[in-house]
């Protein structure tokens, strides 16, 4: 990434801040928070990398979402590079679209985070059989459903209204991905297990906290992901 790219968020924020000074105080406050985010570094990793601390506050939360987007993008990249031979007609094109969307999400978060973005991670996909359509699509469903639940649980934790808006724009696209994968492998049960069917929370999508999501995806990470610094409420 170029230097101009990594510094541009701050530059943009400053431009906006001066505009918002006349436009509205509450609006200006949220941009200030965004500008302030860049103070929160991801914990440095030593040469024997064993842990990745996602950090604190809005920056930590963005790094958390970046981690999930990295995971999805890396997965689809692997699928697209060596697709299972039993993929049906048209499916590779759709999975390529998914790869592109996830890469755009990943790179956008990187751009937002600038120098605070986590490094590129080599994930452990050894549990997935990349030569089997069934295995690949089952893994895709896991990643997408997990992503939707993760966005549902993380978006409310942001203090910046601007970042909340951006994150919610991505969250619904992840839900579209999840629905798409389910339509490929279980078209007669599109919402089972991910939309509450009864009780007080009937009709609500699954929500998972960052520790729950990291625990569910732990086998894919090459090292321990530390989320204890992230806000919880």
């Amino acid at each position: 990434m170029s230097e101009s790219a990594s510094s541009s968020l701050l530059a943009r924020s400053m431009r906006r801040r001066s505009f918002f000074r006349v436009a509205g105080a509450t609006v200006a406050a949220s941009t200030l928070v965004l500008a302030g985010c860049v103070k929160d570094p991801v914990e440095p990793t030593d040469t024997q990398v064993t842990t990745l601390n996602l950090g604190e506050g809005d920056t930590g939360l963005l790094n958390y979402l970046l981690l999930l987007e990295q995971l999805e993008a890396a997965f689809y990249q692997k699928v697209v590079t060596t697709p299972p031979t039993d993929l049906q007609a048209g499916e590779l094109a759709a999975l390529t679209d998914l790869r592109d969307h996830e890469v755009v999400h990943r790179e956008f978060f990187r751009q937002l985070l600038g120098s605070n973005a986590q490094p590129t991670i080599e994930f452990n996909f050894s549990t997935i059989n990349f030569s089997s359509r069934a295995s690949v699509l089952a893994a895709a469903r896991t990643f997408e459903d997990l992503g939707v639940a993760a966005y549902n649980g993380a978006a409310k934790l942001f203090t910046s209204r601007e970042i909340l808006a951006l994150v919610s724009k991505i969250a619904s696209v992840e839900a579209r991905h999840a629905a798409f994968i389910r339509d490929l492998i279980q078209p007669t049960d599109p919402f089972g297990g991910v939309v509450e069917g009864s009780g007080a929370y009937s009709g609500l999508g699954t929500v998972l906290t960052p520790p729950q999501v990291i625990a569910a995806a732990t086998s894919f990470f090459p090292y321990t992901i530390v989320v204890s610094g992230l806000p919880t409420a």
Partner: protein
């Protein structure tokens, strides 16, 4: 100065920016006329007074207003699916099962929102119906309307997220609940798009479709948008991405005023 660019950026922080201006549509018209007459020198003063009016008072909707707005849309959806099931044209098997399940979700959303408004000592809206005169006679068009309603719902919930930040009803975090409903509306939208043999996500070209679909994808920030937080996703992410991929990677907001516009959900309610 590009006033529309400013408003677009502002809408990323203040989803109701257009709502603030909506009643002053005449003002925009005047702005356009002024520009045409070459009186551009007066424009900055004019724009300043516009923002002064828009932000000079507290105009953010109350939590009850937001919840009743969501409830209005859920009632509209619930009634639409009730009519669709009653019309008896949905093919049996997977399509009928999906429509029945989606209807059940919408009814659950109605119940949840109604109870939440009551818990906050508000008065929940009731009796919002899908206009029978607009109800399509054939299944194919019914499904197109379902897509329009679901994709509108996704954009509408997204547009109000900021207004629910930090708001609770008892111990329930309203923003989280709204986001959970939002994700379900997106799953519905994608599933119905798949039933219609469309891409589950929204390609840039969809804004050009005839009503009821086209207007759903337009707005101050149309679904064809490729710029987020000032970053052009097609060219400024270190590699080049197609406009379709960039646009489909992000769903955009609709403001309350836009959703309730006669060309969108507002035109379907009685």
């Amino acid at each position: 100065m590009n006033i529309f660019r400013i408003i677009e950026q502002l809408s990323e922080v203040d989803s109701d920016v257009l709502g603030r201006f909506d009643s002053r549509r005449a003002v925009f018209k005047t702005l356009g006329d002024t520009a045409k007459k070459g009186a551009l020198a007066a424009a900055p003063v004019f724009v300043a007074s516009l923002f002064q009016k828009a932000y000079g008072q507290t105009t953010a909707p109350s939590v009850i207003d937001v919840l009743n707005y969501a409830l209005t849309l859920e009632l509209l959806e619930e009634d639409f699916y009730t009519k669709m099931i009653a019309a008896g044209q949905v093919p049996t098997g997977a399509p009928a099962a999906a429509i029945a399940l989606i209807k059940k979700h919408e009814s659950a959303h109605v119940t949840l929102l109604t109870n939440t408004v009551k818990a906050l000592n508000g008065t929940p809206v009731t009796g919002k119906k899908f206009d029978p005169a607009k109800f399509p006679a054939d299944y194919t068009t019914q499904l197109a309307f379902a897509q329009a309603l679901e994709d509108t719902g996704v954009r509408a919930y997204k547009g109000q997220a900021g207004n629910l930040m930090g708001k609770t009803a008892g111990s329930t975090n309203l923003l989280q609940v709204a986001l959970q409903i939002h994700s379900v509306e997106a799953r519905h939208a994608a599933h119905i798009r798949t039933m219609r043999a469309q891409a589950p996500w929204i390609p840039a070209a969809d804004s050009n479709l005839p009503a009821p679909l086209g207007p759903v994808y337009t707005g101050a920030i149309p679904e064809s948008n490729v710029t987020q937080s000032g970053v052009n996703l097609t060219s400024q992410l270190g590699a080049t991405y197609s406009a379709n991929d960039a646009a489909a990677s992000f769903d955009e907001i609709l403001t309350m005023a836009e959703v309730l516009d006669a060309s969108r959900a507002g035109g379907l309610v009685v």
